[in-house]
Symmetry: D2
Subunit: 350 residues, 4 copies
């Protein structure tokens, strides 16, 4: 249930609605738009109680509408919050007019590899440095990431280049440590339904990038985001990274319809990861252009100084040169959809 | 096996290569590029014969290279023909610099519905009129199309508006009749592996738009195209129209990676059908922009004057107004990837 | 709409119902059960006409019930016909108490290969000889079957061994020729929605085995069967042969839930093809046992005297010895679900 | 790399092999079969070192063979351990001649519901009581399980009925608590790649039932099991519970080929969960029979006293009566594949 307040409703009136919802057994969540305040009722009541409460709320003069929400997510929904959410990362926003690019190696392998890549992507205009310290690997016999050492290297790379950091957390017990380094926490596809982890992230106010599970429906993905928002963290971004289908030519199947759909269904920023989606560097550029044309608010791209020597995901990594060329092609596409490529790193590096 | 002739090889020398291939048991297929002629050897020989022939060809002074092709398609491959194929439809080309738009109703329902839509899409700049006379329907209890009557209406709509026609053939026994009306023959997703039909289409020189099967891999799709080309028809276009996955929010999952991949693997033009792929009109516009950004040579879009009354596929049809708005948004995207939206209908209608 | 007649309704009364249905615009289809006759109304009427007709029929004293059918298939449904359909092939029935086994090579390759296999499977107890003369092959460069020559070899093998023949038809123009040889016509997975072919098969009374399309839902499969039945042919069998999923260890994913579901939803016999489904001979035996335990009425199994030399599908073919061992294991499973393995070939060969 | 010792190799000789492997950089894992001991080399070495070591080992007189393992799992593989693993749960074994049945409600809802179900499934012959205290739910607005209270109810139900308990752990921080109650720990499909959790489970010796992820390949599933075994816990059971496909009639698609394949590829017991796989109670019985026919070592079945009132998964739950009827049908199937239905609960309850 969502309660839409009339324009100009006072703080007291909003609180009265919240109290009534809570008295009936709901949890209340307030969304303050430019014109209106909307209060979401979280929880499940028996039908007669819900019905009665709905009628009582409707007679209040400062309530404009009471909407029954049948979707299994509420706070994530564009019904609850009309304005698009903009997530602040240091001095810029994700989800606004600017298209943001996050780039870097799949895994942090060494100080040299990380710094070399960080300088290169910054120069080409990337806004955020990506790099995995804890790597979720299908086989226990594969390289599992540098762990804490990797985190320290990321901290250093950020200090030197000024780029904010996005990195993945796998284990709820590592969360504090990862938060101390990361500007954005990445929840990987395999962890999309690690509900314990989502709840802990919800208790922080750190920006979270929630990757879609490899076979998650759009609705399941949005419900996973709801787990985070329900604990109070509104800084959630969605990331489409390809779904598992029968097609084997590409590593996964990038679902750009999900990007356009998520923009309709939610108010959250949407990022696209064409590197994991395609698994082939030669497809990363056309799919990046397509993603921005479809409405993506940003990209997450793997760049490696020597893809053939990468400890993971080499075949899908761009060289720094190819990444720079991609950035140039992105600019006119962003403008064609009336946005602007931020190119933060490049500008600040100048 | 593909035989690359040296630049400047004479017609006689080319014929000599063909004769040697045919003497050994292959069928020879010639591709004449700007700089070089390439001869494809079609068929399967036992290994020693193949080996010996390969060595004999390599010693000929006018043969530059002999390449073993391990892909299961040959004539379709960009290995065999480097230049992109441009398919001529009346006075324009598909697969060149211009982006082409084909639009119209899913099914021809009546004279009024067809003409009304034809005028509207022409005015908005569509290049080709689409409309189904023979409809492949999952249930025998659903509307099956107007058949011959529908074909005659398409002929009339073309005469009145000057738009070329694309329409589907389902039954090999209807082929002659459909060819007499259509400028482009559509092979639907359900017929992608109707090999008897593909072979008959290969014996004509009519442009063919081959839709990808609902669960066909990229490789299977290209092999289906090979069935047509192998009979001699080179006017083949591929059409990505969404694949079947677990996701149910969209009707199918549009696979734009397949568009970028097909551009690498083949020399054929690629068209995208965002209407069938998404099944939701509100997603048609962002996915059309994305398709062109990914490299598509054209779009196939459902437009219906009153989508809510359509006998098939209403929910995914654009109104004429929304189609016109889409055309306006397409223009800057085409330019951002250094192409041009043709907008043939609009120009000729002026 | 389905009209259930009271027990003992006369032929005249049945005809009266049919006439009323047809006068209103439906086509009538009669199903004569042991206790009751049920008349199906095929077609689509506007809602008020349908409503009025329903009420008029309900007041007739010899009509017990009028049921609105919302499923997209009617004649195929177990709502329309309660008793299970038994399809007669020469002197035995498929769909009754006995479990039937059809076995043989994927493709007819030579007289020797076919006869050798035919003798072997007959001796092991197979009831029907399978073998493809027209082969649907993904690549035009692969072996396409022996065609008419293959059909003649099948005819001879049947004459010599006494085994009935099942073989596939691909092209509607070959139908007459195939019918003259085959006891059961196979519609392959790629042709499941070749509606022209289904309609032609519906005009005959030849038993048809309709394979499920590689990515067809159960509902689409049943609607394809409805195309055949609607033309008047009631001798339809369904065949589950694996669906396309993300799993690559097996060629396809055998969907035995679909077998159990189809037994609930329809009255048609269900056959299972574990050879195409798994693509690995070592999995054919356990999956055959599972299929019969799940309720399958029969199996379709690839047997080849020398699998490693087969021109198609070698890796999934059983040797005659392994096939004989499978038949022995099947017997107690059939009995455990209160059926009997027919073992027709063996008995008759004795 | 796997080192196969000659029959009769002494303990010293085995230790020598281990030391050589460890000196080179591998971790050694010993598997003691009835006839032979096999030593697995875990880890990755550079190619020349591996090659040299292999040659050195081969010349040892007590080494029979050195096998290069290219599969991404080793300890899980039937190459490393030929005999089938039997997991002891109280006084019986899973993976031996007996077929085991685990049954109970999806979620523990109340003392009454749990005890009523526990008595019923015990009487019908179930060997283990299942019931979720921590429930992984797609929506945060759904019932999340009773948590610790649910665990205490499970402990009580076990004490009263004598049935061992299987229950799921979601959060690595709950592991100790769950282990104190459970005889078998269930890792749900959503947690199959929660590597932190798998590693912690590997450090215990508690039997683990590892469900296949909803879109995990067989190979990924086996690698997840390898994460557990690699830490030292050999009491691992695999559980097939349906994969996500395009089919929507069933909740998931039960992949019985994966059961037969896993029996070939590994030495671990395989359990099948037909309730989650089909999502329809009417399909649970035929699929249970099929699972045992395909080689499953046990079943995991949802039973609820009043399915229509269940807080989760009602439509797929059997009533106690239907469960008892299933147990009766299972018995002859188990015998048909030369096994025995254990029916432990029933016997002990007598």
């Amino acid at each position: 249930m969502i309660v839409v307040m009339r324009p100009g409703a006072s703080e007291e009136q909003i609180q009265e609605v919240c109290q009534r919802l809570e008295a009936a057994g709901y949890k209340a969540a307030i969304s303050r738009g430019v014109e209106r305040v909307v209060v979401g009722a979280i929880g499940i009541l028996d039908e007669p109680t819900r019905q009665m409460l709905m009628e009582q709320l409707l007679v209040l003069p400062f309530v404009e509408q009471v909407i029954r929400v049948t979707k299994p997510y509420k706070l994530v929904s564009s019904d609850w919050k009309k304005e698009r959410t903009k997530v602040a990362v240091r001095d810029f926003l994700i989800g606004g007019d600017e298209v943001i690019v996050m780039a870097g190696p799949c895994a942090v392998e060494s100080r040299e590899q990380l710094l070399q890549t960080a300088y290169a992507v910054k120069e080409a205009g990337a806004d955020v440095l990506r790099g995995g310290a804890y790597k979720p690997r299908t086989s226990p016999h594969s390289f599992q990431g540098l762990g804490e050492v990797g985190l320290e290297l990321l901290r250093e790379a950020s200090e030197i280049t000024g780029l904010p950091i996005i990195t993945e957390v796998l284990d709820v017990r590592d969360l504090e440590r990862v938060i101390s380094v990361a500007d954005i926490i990445q929840v990987g596809a395999r962890s999309m339904q690690n509900f314990a982890l989502l709840r802990e992230l919800g208790k922080t106010d750190k920006p979270v990038l929630l990757k879609r599970g490899i076979s998650a429906t759009i609705e399941e993905w949005l419900q996973a985001a709801e787990y985070i928002m329900l604990e109070g963290n509104i800084n959630v971004m969605l990331c489409e990274r390809g779904i598992r289908t029968f097609e084997t030519y590409t590593r996964n199947t990038l679902d750009l319809s999900a990007v356009a759909a998520a923009k309709e269904l939610t108010h959250l920023p949407i990022i696209v990861d064409p590197s994991h989606a395609t698994g082939r560097w030669s497809l990363v550029t056309p799919l990046s252009l397509a993603a921005v044309a479809a409405g993506a608010d940003g990209l997450l791209i793997e760049v490696h100084p020597e893809p053939s020597k990468a400890l993971s995901d080499g075949p899908q990594s761009l060289t720094p040169e190819r990444f720079a060329a991609l950035m140039e092609k992105l600019e006119p596409i962003a403008e064609a959809v009336e946005r602007k490529l931020r190119k933060g790193g490049g500008v600040k590096g100048a």
